[in-house]
Amino acid sequence: MRDPFPATARGQRPQRLTTARIGLYAFLLIAALFFLLPAYVMIVTSFKSMGEIRSAQIFALPHMLDWSFWLKAWSSACAGVNCNGVSVGFWNSVKITVPATILSVLLGAVTGYALSFWKPPGSKLLFAAITIGGFIPLQIFLFPMVRATAALGLYNSLGGIVLVHVVFGLPLTTLLFRNYYAAIPVELFKAARVDGAGFWRIFFALMLPLSLPMLVVAGLMQMTGIWNDFLLGLVFAGRDNLPMTVQLNNIVTTTTGQREYNVHMAATVLTALVPLVAYFVSGRWFVRGITAGSVKG
């Protein structure tokens, strides 16, 4: 340890690498190792020929950097009679994910906000029901939802799949936001009410900006969930709107057919690129001290 009282200390504290700091980075590195190990194997595998893969040296580096499997995964891997890789459903995925994410996050935010601050009669019951709903395995909903969307004329449509995602996202997003709002000083809400703002005004002008970090978290979660979903997309979206993951599933899953691991790895990573990029850029919205300076005490 360095002397905490150097007689010559002056001005800005120098950035020093304390043992605590070193420990911190060591922890992060070890954690990263644990987290990246599968990714490493995956990436390495995606460059290997099947022969190399069969040799079962999972940690070995590929003999050469062969991008062909990535190319194949993106644009020419076969699934059934279509050999267009995972790129096929990309825009469909976007078309499903964007509205479904926005709507479900908004619905969760509004619901959480109403439950946290306004507490109209029945709020507790509703919240309990929503919470319990989160435990039901989605697949149980499949048949009833099929009947319901068919009855609404939304089966096999973009609207249908978006609706389904919003419905299934409700417990998660509501939970996120209700608990987040519970930590926001209620005085803020009071002040806005005195300022004459009503339900929606307070929500949009005050609560939504204040929930930025949670919007990001909920957004990332919903986006990932919706982007990665394939069963609901398969069932509800209709053939014209099948998401990318249906193709991914068709490429990657097989019971008795061949498994081209290299292409599978590449396809998986490619499909996950959009969420990954989102994770990376979302950092700047994890703002520090978002309610700082608002209340005293």
């Binding site: 005004r201 978002i290 300076g293 005293k296």
Partner: protein
């Protein structure tokens, strides 16, 4: 437009504990009412209830002709300064100020004008683009005041709005608030712990204690004729000097008997039909240092001298206790001096020993 506010047997509580009980208060249209009371007596709770931010457990609140007990805050025509500020952390100062106006649908240029004027009054111009987190404590408080002042409401609720401001600014803002009050004629309910503020701003002062009103009267009355011992002790700094004794009626005259001797009181001061244990209260300025004034006096010794600028407080130890005496600022005594204290018992307040009520 000035509106009256009326609280009718209002009760408010948190959970099972009642904070305010059976509270009645009529505030006239355009009145400036100051709420004074010890910390935790329920002032903020009351303001919150008037604003509609917390539910009553009993009673009614009327604003003007309307029973607003169950009305929404936004329908009550109030502006409020929160004790804890409650600034919108995501908005800069300008937005904080203009938010309420925008909600009310005011025209852009008018909003700008008002915000500008308010910011000028509060000397906030340099900070308009800052977020609350980047402001000093006093600046935050000013934003909180500004947020109420920009708005055009019938009733202003101020919860210790100037507590974190320096004396100069505080004086200036006090004058501004008074001006605003006169201009708008709005009803104002103002919580403060600053007696100068209370005395100078108030039409009437309500002294609260444990959720109940102890005295509701003009500042001058409260200061000079406190209704009971609590008010007497609460108002004035340093507090009143209290002397236990008895009123003794004798031959049509009334005498005050205490350890310090027995003195005849003028008719106006106090009267008693029979001997009566009382406590006499004397403000520090009702005690003088020399007996030349002809007042009954006794010996004491100066133990502490507090120079406070315009005046000096002497703490004098006598046999019967410690007395505080207010002297001019240029007083030139020293600790340890022997003095003779003269009590102006004729102008003193007398309280019943048992009930604490003013006689």
């Amino acid at each position: 437009m000035p509106v009256p506010v009326s609280l009718r047997s209002v009760a408010i509580g948190y959970g099972s504990t009642a904070v305010v009980k059976d509270f009645d208060l009529e505030i006239a249209a355009g009145e400036f009412l100051v709420l004074l009371g010890p910390s935790g007596c329920g002032k903020s709770t009351l303001l919150n209830a008037i604003a509609g931010l917390s539910d009553l457990s009993d009673g009614e609140i009327w604003i003007g002709e309307r029973n607003v007990t169950w009305a929404d805050p936004k329908d009550r025509g109030i502006g409020m300064v929160f004790q804890s500020y409650a600034l919108y952390p995501n908005m800069n100062v300008e937005k904080n100020l203009s938010f309420g106006l925008q909600v009310a649908g005011m025209a852009k240029d008018q909003i700008a004008r008002r915000v500008k004027r308010t910011a000028a009054i509060l000397q906030l111009e340099p900070y308009l683009q800052r977020r609350p987190a980047a402001l000093s404590g006093g600046q935050r408080q000013r934003v909180a005041i500004g947020r109420a002042l920009v708005r055009d409401v019938d009733i202003f609720l101020f919860d210790e709005p100037l507590s974190n401001l320096d004396a100069k600014l505080r004086t200036e803002l006090r004058v501004e608030i008074k001006k605003l009050h006169q201009e708008l004629g709005s009803t104002m309910i103002y919580v403060t712990h600053d007696q100068v503020e209370a005395m100078t701003l108030a039409d009437r002062i309500a002294i609260m204690r444990d959720g109940m009103i102890q005295q509701l009267a003009s500042p001058r009355e409260i200061y000079h004729r406190p209704a009971n011992l609590f008010v007497a002790g609460f108002i004035g700094s340093p507090a009143m000097n209290l002397i236990s004794g008895a009123l003794v009626p004798k031959a049509g005259k009334t005498f005050f008997r205490s350890e310090l001797g027995t003195v005849e009181l003028p008719q106006a001061a106090a009267q008693a039909a029979e001997e009566h244990a009382v406590i006499a209260g004397l403000r520090p300025e009702q005690i003088v240092l020399d007996t030349a004034s002809g007042l009954p006096g006794f010996a004491a010794k100066v133990s502490v001298i507090e120079a406070m600028g315009p005046d000096t407080i002497l703490w004098c130890e006598a046999e019967s206790g410690v007395f505080s005496v207010r002297m001019p600022g240029d007083f030139a005594g020293a600790v340890g001096d022997s003095v003779t204290l003269g009590l102006d018992l004729a102008t003193a307040s007398y309280f019943d020993s048992a009930t604490g009520k003013r006689l």
